[in-house]
């Protein structure tokens, strides 16, 4: 900006105008570069099991049983209680180890630091700071159960409602 000495008005000089354009272009370029680099580090294809998977039909999961058939491949337990079927993610909320189900104790126990969880996923012992997560669970048009581990909830009342519990 330069000041007109006679009128006292400020006007943009030619140099200031081009300088603003140059710095503006440079700033825009650096911002775009930052966005490009950030996007670059997000892979478009993952060579690992999908977060979404089909988990059979509701009749595969009788009431009162913790089904461990999907634990190795998908790291979830399929559990059928009075409230419905839910898919509990087998990742300890303490440091990410895999807890085990002990029928005789009626609880999940983590081998790493001894966190214990109820059937609902609530912490009853050990260092875990929050309950186990439940994955989104819905019934697809073909009657199969569809689970999406990317969408989760671990606290009531949210975790006891659709889409985190499948009413049957």
């Amino acid at each position: 900006m330069s000041e007109d000495l006679l009128t006292g008005t400020k006007r943009l000089s030619r140099r200031g105008f081009f300088s603003a354009i140059a710095w503006g272009a440079f700033t825009a370029y650096m911002l775009a570069l930052g966005a490009v680099l950030t996007r670059f580090f997000y892979p478009k294809i993952l060579y690992e099991p999908s977060q979404k998977f089909r988990a059979g039909v509701p009749d595969d999961y009788p009431k009162g049983i913790v089904n461990e058939s999907l634990k190795k491949a998908q790291r979830v337990w399929m559990i059928h209680t009075e409230k419905g079927i839910y898919s509990l993610i087998a990742i300890c909320t303490h440091l990410g180890c895999t807890p085990n189900w002990f029928l005789e104790n009626n609880r999940f126990q983590c081998p790493c630091h001894g966190s214990n969880f109820t059937l609902e996923g609530d912490v009853i012992a050990g260092p875990a700071p929050q309950p186990l997560f439940r994955a989104k669970i819905t019934l697809a048009a073909d009657g199969k159960i569809q689970v999406d581990k990317a969408i989760t909830a671990n606290r009531p009342p949210q975790r006891d409602e659709a889409p985190f519990v499948l009413k049957v």
Binding site: L95, C97, I151
Partner: protein, 255 residues
């Protein structure tokens, strides 16, 4: 004996020698100082230094030892790269080969491993010494900040290298370590305010670190590249600033 001296003089006064070293034979005060200030490897060091500021009892030489260990780790790490492939199907076997099959591989691996442990310790000892002697005070307060950045990158190098043997210890250490990123405010899917930016397991900070949702091939490759190229490059930039600032701010001590 005179013959050796004659040859030394002939070589050090030859055209080729003088084209590399622009100063005369360092036997005068001026030439001794020029020998330091005109050498790219030595010029970060002052040409003159007070003896009292250079006592091992005062400095512990911990910065120098840290830098020496960084050089050892760079050389041994470069040699390890000739036999190691960051492929999840063979990384563990390559590590075993390096330990039991490659000539002197065991020495190389252990130098790299113990050097890494020693560097973490010496950097922390360096930091403690600077703290206890009050050498972080003005005009050296900026260099303390650069030093903290160097400490962070030393720890990052240590952590990223831990995954590369690809054994159970590595897997779970990095599983636990990257799980901390889940709890990042705003950017981690289990952290506070995760819902503001719509964070999930397949788009949060941990996902970017691992290149996926589990510690697998893409995580191994990412950690390998950061460990071997990314972090060392960034470290060298800050290392240069660190050395340059010692030169410019002067040594502390009983001056």
């Amino acid at each position: 004996m005179n013959r050796v001296k004659d040859w030394k003089r002939v070589i050090s006064e030859s055209f080729i020698w003088r084209s590399v070293f622009r100063h005369g034979y360092p036997d005068t005060r001026r030439n001794k100082m020029l020998a330091v200030s005109t050498n790219v490897f030595l010029h970060l060091h002052p040409t003159k230094i007070k003896e009292r500021a250079y006592q091992v009892r005062f400095t512990w030489c911990m910065g120098g030892i840290s830098f020496f260990l960084f050089l050892v780790l760079t050389v041994t790490g470069l040699l390890l790269m000739f036999y190691y492939v960051p492929d999840s199907r063979r990384a563990y076997d390559d590590m075993k080969d390096l330990t039991f099959v490659v000539p002197f591989g065991s020495v190389l691996r252990n130098l790299h491993r113990w050097g890494a442990h020693a560097m973490v310790l010496s950097v922390i000892a360096h930091m403690a010494r600077v703290f206890y002697t009050g050498s972080y005070k003005p005009p050296r307060e900026f260099n303390w900040v650069v030093g903290v950045i160097l400490l962070v990158f030393t720890l990052l190098l240590s952590f990223s290298g831990y995954l590369l043997p690809w054994d159970q210890l590595s897997m779970w250490a990095v599983t636990v370590g990257t799980n901390m990123a889940r709890a990042t405010p705003f950017l981690g899917h289990e952290g506070p305010f995760a819902n503001v930016l719509g964070m999930a397991i397949n788009n949060d900070a941990r996902f970017v670190l691992l290149g996926g949702t589990i510690v697998s091939q893409s995580a191994l490759l990412r950690f390998y590249v950061w460990h071997c190229v990314g972090f060392p490059l960034i470290l060298v930039v800050f290392l240069s600033i660190h050395f340059w600032r010692i030169r410019k701010d002067g040594f502390s001590g009983n001056l």
